[in-house]
Amino acid sequence: MAAVDDLQFEEFGDAATSLAANPDATTISIEDPHETPKHQPGPLGGSGREEDDELLGNDDSDKTELLAGQKKSSPFWTFEYYQTFFDVDTYQVFDRIKGSLLPIPGKNFVRLYIRSNPDLYGPFWICATLVFAIAISGNLSNFLIHLGEKTYHYVPEFQKVSIAATIIYAYAWLVPLALWGFLMWRNSKVMNIVSYSFLEIVCVYGYSLFIYIPTAILWIIPQKAVRWILVMIALGISGSVLAMTFWPAVREDNRRIALATIVTIVLLHMLLSVGCLAYFFDAPEMDHLPTTTATPNQTVAAAKSS
């Protein structure tokens, strides 16, 4: 009868050493870069059990491979479903912002940074910051432009925040929706290699708006030339990020339609930035004319009260 010796665990080392000792034995080694080599468990039931234990012990790698393709498995009315859209770490958000600021030709923003983990944190909070940046910078800029005037009465113009919020959030959600619908429609006609999901398009648009935050702050400088140069730089950077992202998605299509799509994307982007500049920031040369397009009531009221 097997005594105490049979119940002792034997140290086998890892597969390499046991193969060296006994070249005919079958060993299993599942490559997992995060795991240190495990000691195999003792011969409790022969080699069959060993393989089972190995497989069970290393099921982390199996599970991650299985689950990588099926991330959003919770139904949409549970809270966990929405948590999958916020599954990003701090360094990932910073990397994505950096990627949107430095468009490298040939590197696709979606493939490189998003990699089937689109998040809604970036788009939402970048848009929120942009809304307040535009409203506050516009207010400051108007104050500085009209600083010396006797008839100017400073008002915080809080209504502009809600207008800015409507514009920015509508742009960040409706334009991706339209673009996604358009790409789906073209995909049904022409087989494209690259296709993006709706959330990835929202993600790209959200992160591409980041460049406008420092641009809006720098728009406080009341020089027309400086403002237009800033518009060109910001449009160049974010427009190229968008163009390089969406060019592979329309490349196989009819040449004209592909070009028209890219041009429309860039055009809409330019419309957003120029529109914000025109509406929220008074023109600097008109500081001694009583009419400005943005705030007619305020100057009229100020003129009445003086």
Partner: protein, 235 residues
């Protein structure tokens, strides 16, 4: 037999017999009354939800709640790593602060309707929807703080900014000018930093470590917007 008369107090006094064998021999010669008090010393600070709070006077109830609110104000003004705010959360303090701030920030109806400072409802909405958005954001990022606890902390940490608003209103009674503005700017900046530090001290521990900055940035933005509204207030 001497062993038969066992007092009921000690049934097994050093007898080598098996257990309880002598119980049948016990005879009690007289009725011994057993009486006393059974009290369970409970030192809990949790309010008991029985009729004792219904019967107390209104002044007691109000003073107890006010004392709780005041205690939390002290915790905000001198932030240390404690979780009193989190444990006994209440929303009275945030409501009082928000109403005070909104009352002071609203523009009068004599101003022009189109432009100007925020109305009462706008301040209210900004504060409460901002707090709700930040709470939902931190929960989505995986924080383990409850919804109302987070609302409580964010609301209480508006206290420094409300104090700043009071100071600004007093300063604005003096003559306007750049010095006036500098004083207000300094006060609002200091109070803004105080708010952010206080709320970070309470909220930072509930976030997963690699996402702390992602959860703290919206708090920063929230208090920045409120500070901007306070700074640009013109009567």
């Amino acid at each position: 037999m001497a062993e038969a008369e066992e007092s009921p107090g000690d049934p097994g006094t050093a007898s080598p017999r098996p257990l309880f064998a002598g119980l049948s021999d016990i005879s009690i010669s007289q009725d011994i009354p057993i009486e006393g008090e059974i009290t369970i010393p409970v030192r809990s600070r949790i309010r008991e939800f029985d009729s004792s709070t219904l019967n107390e006077s209104v002044q007691n109830t109000i003073m107890r709640d006010l004392k709780a609110v005041g205690k939390k104000f002290m915790h905000v003004l001198y932030p240390r790593r404690s979780n009193t705010l989190l444990r006994d959360w209440d929303l009275w303090g945030p409501l009082i602060l928000c109403v005070t701030l909104a009352l002071m920030l609203q523009r009068g109806s004599a101003d022009s309707e189109k432009d100007g400072g925020p109305q009462f409802a706008e301040v209210f909405v900004v504060v409460w929807f901002g707090a709700v958005t930040i709470t939902v954001n931190s929960k989505l990022l995986g924080g383990n703080i409850s919804f109302f606890q987070s609302l409580c902390v964010l609301g209480y940490c508006i206290l420094p900014l409300t104090v700043a608003m009071l100071i600004c209103r007093l300063v604005l009674l003096a003559e306007p000018g750049p010095i006036n503005f500098m004083v207000r700017l300094f006060v609002v900046t200091v109070m803004f930093a105080w708010s952010v530090v206080a709320s970070t001290a309470f909220l930072a521990d509930s976030q997963p470590p690699n996402r702390k900055a992602l959860a703290i940035y919206p708090v920063f933005l929230f208090y920045f917007v409120i500070s901007w509204m306070i700074l640009t207030f013109t009567p």
